[in-house]
């Protein structure tokens, strides 16, 4: 598996860190040996619709389960709604952002 994956950011839940239309490069190998830490921006599968991807920030985590939140709380559906997310839904860590 090639480690880098490209995603285009849609909507506003990660403003101001990420805006709709930005591209991000994600390191899919980032969490092979280490665990996500609070503050990491990650792309994950939407636990409510597995075919869809979300971009959120890790807020906290224990033993393979992570609370993810959007930076823009008023416009984010996240762990406040769907609870902590298991590690295997986390695709990888956002390494690079290209602003729209």
């Amino acid at each position: 598996m090639f480690p880098l994956a490209r995603f285009r950011v849609d909507d506003q839940s990660m403003e101001p860190a990420l805006h709709a239309g930005d591209y991000v490069l994600v390191n899919r190998w980032a969490y092979r040996k280490v665990e996500p830490i609070p503050g990491d921006i990650v792309v994950l599968r939407n636990p409510e619709a597995l075919g869809q991807f979300l971009v959120k920030r890790i807020a906290s985590g224990t033993a393979g389960s992570y609370v993810v939140l959007g930076d823009n709380e008023a416009h984010s559906r996240d762990s406040r709604h769907f609870g902590p997310v298991p590690k295997d839904l986390v695709i990888g860590k956002v390494r690079y952002r290209a602003k729209a």
Partner: protein
């Protein structure tokens, strides 16, 4: 727009990037059961008005018949429209606002919503005062649960409209 962005966008033509939703459904957090309650009042009022409408007798003039049909059609159209508004509002509260933990706390919620939608179908299809009143009663029950999930106390008071039925209001401020 950065060079990197232009390059990445160009790559999209070859192989489109997957989309990472910062999703939303915009949970804007703005919900209120009042719309459903209000729509139920309107349906009750239309049933009342239809009942009060004087039917043209055998010696009514064409103009009187026309006026009767015009009023009846308008009341029915409004009743149809507001029964549908009611159903839309109830569905939004049910599908978007209420969360699994609310249902754990209020296990009767699904049943109330189901009854509310059935009453609204009746309120729409028929000239049925009981159906219209059921709509309001179920909207009131939903409103009570809704305001409880918000930690807001409620009061039941006669609505200040011609329908004057008991209606659940939040005690705000």
């Amino acid at each position: 727009m950065s060079i990197a962005h232009t390059l990445l966008r160009a790559l999209d033509r070859v192989a489109p990037a997957r989309v990472a939703h910062a999703h939303c459904d915009i949970p804007c957090g703005i919900y209120d059961p009042h719309h459903a309650q209000l729509a139920a009042h309107t349906v009750i009022r239309m049933v009342d008005l239809i009942g009060q409408l004087e039917k043209p007798g055998p010696d009514a003039t064409p103009e009187q018949r026309q006026e009767y049909h015009n009023k009846l059609a308008r009341y029915i159209a409004t009743k149809e429209q507001h029964a549908e508004i009611y159903k839309g509002e109830v569905r939004v509260l049910w599908g978007d606002y209420f969360k699994p933990e609310h249902v754990q706390q209020f296990p009767q919620l699904h049943d109330i919503v189901w009854k509310a939608l059935k009453s609204a179908s009746k309120g729409r299809q028929e000239i049925n005062l009981q159906g219209a009143e059921d709509m309001l009663n179920q909207a009131n029950e939903i409103a009570e649960i809704f305001w409880k999930t918000k930690g807001v106390a409620t009061v039941k008071a006669k609505a200040p409209y011609p329908t004057a039925r008991d209606t659940v209001y939040p005690k705000l401020g």
